[in-house]
């Protein structure tokens, strides 16, 4: 089982990184085009992927029950912060890693920020928020 996980992780990581790069999600100008609704190509990629997945899960059965992403107190404020960061930097968590692979070394800057933010959150959560997220994660 460990080897299968290793294979899955490598194949999915490479496939996702390759796709994000080829499609254009690592290009700030194209991300700005999507997020200003002036260029709908990337938005259609995203919406199309969700639509295909809806069909896929139905075919694969059982899959719909496997995860639970509950709506909790952190859902909305977290999404606002993420959305703001996404608009400013043009990146979602995977993108800076892909950009580094593309040779865009400046991506290390938002990546460092992401790491800091991800490490700081549980500290803040423990000290100030302390709400239930419905999962084992903080």
């Amino acid at each position: 089982m460990k080897n299968r996980t290793t294979l899955a992780v490598m194949a999915t990581g490479m496939g996702l990184g390759f796709s994000l790069s080829q499609i254009g999600f690592t290009d700030y100008a194209q991300m700005r085009g999507m997020l200003t609704l002036s260029d709908w190509r990337l938005m259609l990629v995203f919406m199309g992927a969700v639509a295909i997945l809806m069909g896929a899960w139905r075919v694969l059965d059982g899959a719909l029950r496997a995860t639970s992403r509950p709506f909790h107190k952190g859902t909305i404020p977290g999404a606002v912060l993420f959305g703001a960061g996404w608009a400013l930097t043009g990146v979602c968590p995977a993108v800076p890693l892909v950009q580094l692979g593309e040779g865009n070394l400046a991506a290390i800057v938002p990546l460092m920020g992401i790491i800091v933010g991800a490490l700081v959150h549980p500290l803040v959560h423990r000290r100030f928020f302390r709400w239930s997220s419905g999962t084992c994660e903080t």
Binding site: M1, T5, T6, A8, V9, M10, T12, G13, M14, G15, G17, F18, S19, S21, I23, A29, R32, L35, T36, L37, R41, L42, L44, V45, G48, A49, V50, A51, A56, R65, T67, S68, R69, P70, G74, T75, I76, P77, G78, V80, F82, A84, G85, W86, A87, L88, T89, G90, C92, P93, P96, G101, E102, A106, P110, G113, I114, G117, P122, C136
Partner: protein, 201 residues
């Protein structure tokens, strides 16, 4: 940067990668979660990890705990949906730290492969042109990039997912938290992007 993929090809690729992850290892794709795994020391004990790797032992342990709580006659529920939820083989051990790091490294490799296919890797260290025009350049620009990154890292952890976890996986499964999160982070990103674009005009 030129791209040749029509939108439907991109959609198929992203969906394919997500389904592939599921088919290969019954895992749900969510990059911010994988990043969390790579950063934080695992909180599961060695004993728990061992149980998670052995479905029959896990099921026996779950049954024992259920009986301890509800009495000796307690067992599996009658409805197939609930039985499914109790299926020990569907409970995955989370990725180990090395496995999570391997995933993140593979993302990088994917980007490298993509650039090589495009004619070569051009190593550079510069802010994007559109960013510089609408946000700023130089040290101030890099500071905003860093702070923006903090917002992304903090926000995705607070919300419990990102564009892959909530956006692709959660929305396609109609998970309530994901639908809300996706609408909010997309909406916020659009509003702020329009404001930034307005600065150039």
């Amino acid at each position: 940067m030129t791209t040749t993929w029509p939108w439907w090809m991109g959609a198929m690729a992203l969906a394919g990668v997500t389904v592939g992850y599921w088919l290969l290892d019954r895992r749900v794709l969510g990059v911010s979660g994988i990043m969390t795994r790579a950063l934080n020391r695992s909180t599961t004990t060695a004993g728990e990890q061992a149980l998670l790797s052995d479905p029959s032992a896990l099921e026996a342990a779950m049954l024992a705990a259920t009986r301890a709580e509800f009495g000796e006659s307690a067992g599996l529920p009658s409805s197939p949906d609930l039985q499914d939820a109790c299926d020990a083989s569907s409970i995955k051990a989370p990725l180990s730290r090395p496995q999570a790091a391997l995933f993140l490294g593979s993302l990088m490799m994917g980007g490298l492969l993509s650039s090589l296919l495009r004619g070569g890797v051009s190593v550079r260290f510069a802010l994007p042109e559109v960013f510089e025009r609408s946000v700023g350049g130089g040290a101030a620009g890099f500071a905003v990039m860093f702070l923006g990154g903090i917002l992304v890292g903090f926000g995705t952890r607070m919300s419990g997912g990102c564009t892959s976890g909530h956006g692709l996986t959660g929305c396609s499964r109609l998970q309530p938290g994901s639908l809300v999160s996706t609408v909010v982070f997309l909406g916020t990103a659009i509003v702020i992007s329009l404001l930034l674009a307005g600065r150039v005009a």
